[in-house]
């Protein structure tokens, strides 16, 4: 490793601090409160979470010369038409992303990402709720096993799992060879928005199922029995009792699917074949390819604000954050 003196300083400083604080924590003086134990963590979080966030803020509001500017945000709305032209040159398919040749790339990408995330969330909810409901049924003995079956796929590297879809969806992939065998025409399954959506649903579906399953399986059976005792039929019992009580699970399911969906990164590149781009890819490209930290930071900041807003909105529905504990 070649390190600057400053870098070495930082490493040595944090190392010494870590050891010192832990040693200190163990030898606490009796009068000292146990809260001293959390001080290494506090220092760590300030160094590696709070300071980096401030750096994003710093870059977002400065230009290349380090002067204060709002340009980075102005650019966001006011588009880089030039960039768009370049994108077309690079082979991006504007139609695929529902873009027009006019307007801001960033705004278009953001709208596209939000649409995709929304679509993904709705599909996950529609697929996941019935699944969770069926698994959480107390009479169903296999329920806990099936839930573990939902966790296991997540251990396989997510990049490889996504790439594995390529083998299935390709023009000469497994699905199409099956179609040919059956004498059916080949389908164009890859490199489009549908494929990206499929990849997203595939990756995020378990995150919808867990919290809903949690909320449903915690429910007191007697509540349903009481509803039926009071004359509700099966549908009304579900609609008036089971469903409203599973709301915290639904809310945290939506949070856990929607948040990562918006910033999806990599999936569009593989399954969309570079025809589409989502906000995560845009941020990555702005930093690493376009090498523009200031605009990249501004984009990240917007992303965070968006996410914080959605979270606080969702917190209002589920103030306890109850369903959130899938781990």
């Amino acid at each position: 490793m070649n390190l600057s003196p400053f870098g070495i300083g930082l490493i040595v400083f944090s190392g010494v601090l870590f050891v010192f604080l832990i040693a200190y924590g163990f030898k606490v003086h009796h009068g000292m409160h146990r809260s001293i134990f959390s001080s290494p963590y506090t220092v760590w979080m300030i160094l590696f979470t709070v300071v980096p966030l401030f750096l994003i803020g710093y870059y977002a509001f400065t230009d290349v010369n380090g002067k204060f500017t709002l340009e980075n945000f102005a650019n966001f709305w006011d588009s880089n038409r030039e960039m768009k032209r370049q994108l077309i040159g690079m082979g991006f398919s504007l139609e695929e992303m529902g873009m027009t040749a006019r307007g801001s790339v960033n705004v278009d990408t953001l709208v596209y990402s939000l649409k995709m995330a929304f679509g993904c969330t709705v599909i996950c909810l529609l697929l996941g709720y019935p699944a969770a409901l069926l698994i959480a049924d107390r009479k169903f003995k296999l329920g806990p096993t099936i839930i573990i079956l939902f966790i296991i796929p997540m251990w396989m590297n997510f990049l490889l799992r996504t790439i594995a879809w390529m083998s299935l969806l390709e023009d000469n992939g497994l699905i199409n060879s099956l179609m040919t065998r059956l004498g059916l025409p080949k389908l164009k399954l890859m490199y489009n928005t549908r494929a990206v959506l499929l990849g997203m649903v595939y990756n995020y579906l378990p995150f919808m199922v867990f919290p809903i399953y949690n909320a449903l399986s915690k429910q007191d059976v007697r509540l349903s029995e009481a509803a039926q005792d009071l004359g509700a039929n099966n549908f009304l019992t579900f609609w008036r009792v089971v469903f409203p009580l599973s709301m915290p699970g639904i809310v945290s399911g939506i949070t856990m699917v929607f948040m990562p969906s918006v910033t999806t990164f990599f999936i569009p590149r593989v399954l969309g074949g570079g025809n589409t781009e989502m906000f995560g890819d845009l941020i990555e490209r702005t930093f690493l390819t376009a090498d523009n930290w200031n605009v990249g930071s501004a984009l990240s900041l917007l992303m965070m604000v968006l996410i914080l807003m959605s979270i606080s909105l969702l917190r209002k529905v589920d103030p306890e954050g109850e369903g959130g504990s899938f781990v």
Partner: protein
């Protein structure tokens, strides 16, 4: 009727989840390179896997970082949880908010913000920075695993130990740690698996010279993934499955 729906619906969903994994594992035993054509059973890719220095190095990086990061995160997180648990309401809720930041932030923002920090402080990115990043995103999960165990503890247990003559350090080692041990194991395992699977944050905090499996797969994805990778992930998948079975067997034995 409900049984009937369940009998069809759940297998379909599971098929959807397992299809790519099955494909991936089958491919790892395929004699040919083709992703779609079966050219006979072979262990060729498994042999090539162990012969590839690149993959072996990436495996070493992935595993060593997962082990080190989960150890550091477990120490840091357990101590933090003990501290937070003994704080007043205001201070502890402030600490928990701080803990929630990296968990609610998208991975890409966490990764980029750390990258900016390392560039800004002129620390060249590589193994060490990746390790730092992994400790950073793992620690909150350890805290969340340990916290409930601490809350379950009788709040006078610690004082009772001091009352019986234990020094704070003795009370910590002999009373608090044993009571929250299940939470610590959960946290350590969780951070190990999170670390093993992480791509986004590693991608931004390392250099192309030091790659873990995820970043290696990513850089190869453009050229086309060789089935050696499938062979490796099939192996790791099985290893994790065994780990889970062992842990489950042990915890269920504890309950008896």
């Amino acid at each position: 009727m409900k049984k009937w729906v369940r009998g069809i619906y759940l297998p379909l969903i599971l098929l959807f989840l397992y299809l790519p994994i099955v494909v991936l594992i089958v491919q790892s035993f395929n004699a040919g390179v083709s992703r779609a054509r079966w050219e006979g059973f072979s262990l060729r890719w498994y042999k090539e896997l162990f012969a590839s220095p690149q993959i072996m190095r990436a495996l070493y990086v992935t595993l060593s970082i997962a082990v080190l990061a989960s150890i550091f995160a477990t120490i840091l997180g357990t101590l933090a949880a003990i501290g937070i648990n003994s704080m007043g309401k205001k201070a502890s809720s402030a600490m928990l908010t701080l803990t929630n930041i990296p968990m609610t932030m998208p991975d890409i923002v966490t990764g980029i913000s750390l990258m900016l920090l390392f560039i800004f402080t002129k620390v060249s990115r590589g193994y060490f920075t990746m390790l730092l990043a992994h400790v950073t995103f793992n620690t909150p999960y350890v805290i969340l695993s340990v916290m409930p165990k601490l809350r379950e503890m009788n709040k006078y247990s610690y004082e009772a130990a001091l009352d019986l003559g234990a020094t704070p350090s003795y009370a910590l080692r002999h009373v608090i740690l044993p009571s929250i041990f299940p939470g610590i194991t959960t946290g350590a395992l969780l951070s190990f698996t999170l670390s093993l699977d992480d791509f986004t944050i590693s991608y931004f905090t390392t250099s192309p010279l030091v790659q873990n499996l995820s970043t290696l797969i990513y850089s190869e994805a453009r050229k086309g993934i060789k089935p050696t990778m499938n062979a490796l992930s099939a192996l790791m998948f099985v290893a994790l499955l065994i780990l889970l079975l062992v842990v489950n067997r042990r915890t269920s034995a504890d309950h008896k």
